[in-house]
């Protein structure tokens, strides 16, 4: 078990106690909510900027380039400079666009990804809300983003945007199924939808190891479906820049475009974080059987490092996909889901249920 010195619950408890001592419980709750909100906003912005930088560096190295190298050492402040540029850019109003929906769409997209972050367990004792149906909540909330994309495409009064939005709609609606089903396999293994319970069940071994081959298959299926759900990699049909110039956000400029851009990268983080939580043990350290010495050393690494480390490995995988593969066509994309991913997922789920019933997995 991870050492208690790294647990954030002591910190949060003391803050709670201190606040309650100086003000009424209602006020204390409001202040806590504000603190959490501000923390998440900061995390959101910092992570988004960092992920954009990371992506640019990773693809540059893969392509024998240097990547950003002008702003700061190794171009570290490149994305900050880009953000400032986007903030200063003109918001181009579109004639005959449905102004209300046009302005609303970026917010829906960004709020959807923001809400999903609320239920993520970042480290031991560091989770905003621990729903008893946490995984269900995350799936439900992250699929809200498609509404924003559809609205963006429809309200832009641009043909490219509309085609992009329709593609995105078809894509996300179908891939949602695979995401849900592949996560269901872990729910079957752990017997709970609560994220803290799922993580606790992986204290002595991650599900990807404990669940043997079915869990690995589920993990791969989840990665593929998750990549598709966030419109990335070989599945970026909604923006497909060689076909639709920029797809659903063709007509957006300035900070509204930045919202879409940021939301895309945060969605990638959320997908990777869910994969980490469900398959790779969340913030649990890496343990091997009864090598107590080794396990003890692993325990000294803080849980938050474990969580982010694993998440970034998954993010790297998703980036690797994007910078290697050509894009699929829309009918092939739907074929892949309905003819391959979904049947495999269903088979896998049945198989896992059987294994769990018989108890043929490492406990």
């Amino acid at each position: 078990m991870i050492l208690d010195i790294y647990s954030f619950s002591t910190l949060t408890h003391s803050i709670n106690k201190g606040l309650n001592a100086v003000m009424s419980p209602l006020l204390a709750t409001i202040v806590e909510l504000v603190i959490v909100g501000v923390l998440f906003l900061m995390l959101y912005a910092v992570l988004g900027l960092f992920l954009v930088y990371l992506e640019r560096k990773v693809c540059a190295v893969m392509q024998n380039r240097i990547g950003p190298n002008r702003v700061g050492r190794w171009g570290m402040f490149q994305t900050i400079a880009d953000l400032i540029k986007l903030l200063m850019k003109e918001l181009i109003p579109i004639k005959r666009a449905d102004q209300f929906l046009f302005n609303l769409a970026p917010f829906i997209v960004i709020i959807a990804s923001f809400m999903a972050m609320a239920a993520l367990p970042f480290a031991k004792g560091l989770q905003a809300i621990d729903f008893n149906i946490g995984i269900f909540y995350i799936i439900a909330v992250s699929s809200l983003g498609v509404i924003g994309i559809l609205i963006a495409g429809w309200s832009s009064n641009s043909k490219y945007s509309l085609v992009g939005a329709m593609r995105s709609g078809a894509q996300i609606v179908s891939y949602e199924l695979s995401v849900g089903l592949s996560l269901l396999s872990i729910v079957i293994f752990s017997g709970s939808m609560q994220l803290s319970t799922v993580i606790a069940s992986q204290a002595d071994g991650w599900w990807i190891f404990k669940g043997q081959i079915p869990a690995i298959i589920a993990f791969i299926l989840y990665l593929v479906a998750g990549t598709a759900e966030i419109n990335r990699g070989p599945f970026d049909l909604a923006e497909a820049e060689s076909e639709l110039t920029a797809g659903f956000h063709t007509e957006y400029s300035g900070i509204k475009f930045a919202f879409f851009f940021l939301a895309e990268y945060m969605n990638m983080f959320i997908v990777a974080a869910i994969a980490t939580t469900m398959f790779l043990g969340g913030w649990m350290p890496f343990h091997i059987g009864d090598w107590t010495g080794f396990n003890h050393i692993m325990d000294y690494i803080p849980s938050i490092v474990w969580f982010f480390g694993k998440t970034f490995v998954v993010i790297y995988l998703i980036m690797w996909f994007k910078w290697t593969f050509p894009r699929l066509r829309i009918d092939q994309l739907l074929n892949l889901e309905w003819k391959y991913l979904l049947p495999l997922n269903l088979m896998n789920t049945v198989f896992i249920s059987f294994i769990v019933l018989m108890g043929w997995y490492f406990k």
Binding site: Q63, P234, S242, E243, P326, I330
Partner: protein
């Protein structure tokens, strides 16, 4: 009022969903406008609109002397600049019945094959990018850079060389030319398998290209689709084989023919042509005579005898024909360039009809269009 207009547009004459791809569009590779009628994702009709970069090279040629025409031909298909130069040079030499030195012929052939490989590099890069594989662009350009370095060392320019002139070459090639070319062949033979595993064997790539944009031999002949695009449909149209010029009749090489006629077979033709070009290069380098002669004796002012002349040359994209009418003056009376891309473009509607938008991008990528060559 305005609503009425919108209504007319939406349900008026044509109920098609019309989108304009271009003149500024990532996948048209230049200022080409494709007016695409859509039915959902399906393409119903493609109408190309050209002329955005028309520079009336044919009219300008009527004012220039034969030596001055060379620098204009560079600017048609800028990726096959050497071949374009060679076409005019060969025409003038044949008309005046000048025999250029053997060494010049070999150097010309080497330059042709090098620019063919370089052109296919760029095509491979851009084609991968059209299909969404963004890394191919950098790998292709990385390798093309090696050829451009050879060019830059010898001719001082990377794209528009104006190097092959009537009577020979502008000046001798650099002393490192032979060595550099051999080094490039060695380097590129190592890199070509990477192209294969990155794109050629990829299952997504197969899905996107196999059976897409079918063009049978009949269509290819009827529309005059030449070059690798035509050979992908089994249309034997390699001018190097059927009407050899320079030293191509002394070189052993295969004309790459594929019979499927889809995007994938056009892709394979170009990939194998790169390999074949390297084989040709090795032979040429072997046989290239030593020495330093680079031009035949020519008069300072070139005047073609009265008459009509035609010269065919195989560029990286197909058959380039130069038709010159001379009245015996130092300027040609009429110059006509039959450019390969002009014919290759207009088959697009036939191929893309019934496919998806993504197929249209793949097809126009597989035809390897260079827009200045269409507009001239």
């Amino acid at each position: 009022m305005s609503e009425e207009i919108i209504k007319n547009i939406m349900v008026g004459e044509h109920e098609d969903y019309l989108i304009n791809m271009g003149p500024q569009h990532p996948s048209t590779h230049g200022v080409l406008r494709l007016e695409v009628s859509l039915n959902g994702e399906d393409v119903k009709k493609v109408t190309p609109h050209i002329g955005y970069i028309h520079r009336s090279i044919e009219k300008m040629c009527e004012k220039d002397t034969y030596k001055q025409i060379i620098h204009l031909t560079d600017r048609m298909d800028y990726l096959s600049a050497h071949m374009n130069n060679e076409a005019v040079s060969l025409l003038v030499e044949n008309a005046l019945q000048i025999e250029v030195p053997e060494r010049v012929k070999y150097i010309r052939a080497i330059l042709d094959e090098l620019s063919r490989i370089a052109s296919h590099h760029l095509w491979w890069s851009a084609f991968g990018m059209d299909l969404g594989a963004l890394t191919t662009f950098f790998y292709g350009l990385r390798d093309r850079e090696k050829i451009l370095a050879i060019f830059e060392e010898s001719f001082g320019s990377r794209l528009l060389h104006s190097f092959i002139t009537p009577g020979g070459l502008m000046h001798d090639v650099h002393s490192n030319f032979r060595k550099d070319t051999l080094e490039f062949i060695k380097y590129f033979r190592k890199k070509l398998p990477e192209y294969k595993s990155l794109l050629t064997d990829n299952i997504i790539f197969h899905q996107r290209t196999k059976g897409v944009g079918k063009m049978d031999k009949k269509t290819s002949v009827a529309y005059g689709v030449t070059g690798p695009s035509g050979r992908g449909s089994g249309f034997s149209c390699d001018v190097r084989k059927i009407a050899p010029y320079g030293v191509y009749d002394q070189i052993e090489f295969n004309e790459i023919l594929k019979n499927d006629g889809d995007v994938f077979s056009r892709y394979l033709v170009r990939m194998e042509e790169m390999e074949e070009s390297m084989n040709i290069l090795e032979q040429l380098i072997d046989k290239m005579p030593d020495g330093n002669e680079y031009t035949a004796k020519m008069k300072a002012i070139v005047k073609l005898p009265e008459g009509e002349y035609y010269q065919r040359v195989e560029t990286a994209r197909g058959e380039l024909g130069v038709y010159v009418v001379s009245t015996g003056a130092k300027h040609p009376y009429r110059v006509r360039f039959r450019t390969p891309n002009f014919s290759n473009l207009f088959v697009l509607n036939n191929l893309a009809k019934g496919g998806k938008i993504a197929d249209l991008v793949a097809i126009s990528g597989s035809l390897d269009l260079v827009i200045p060559d269409i507009d001239r």
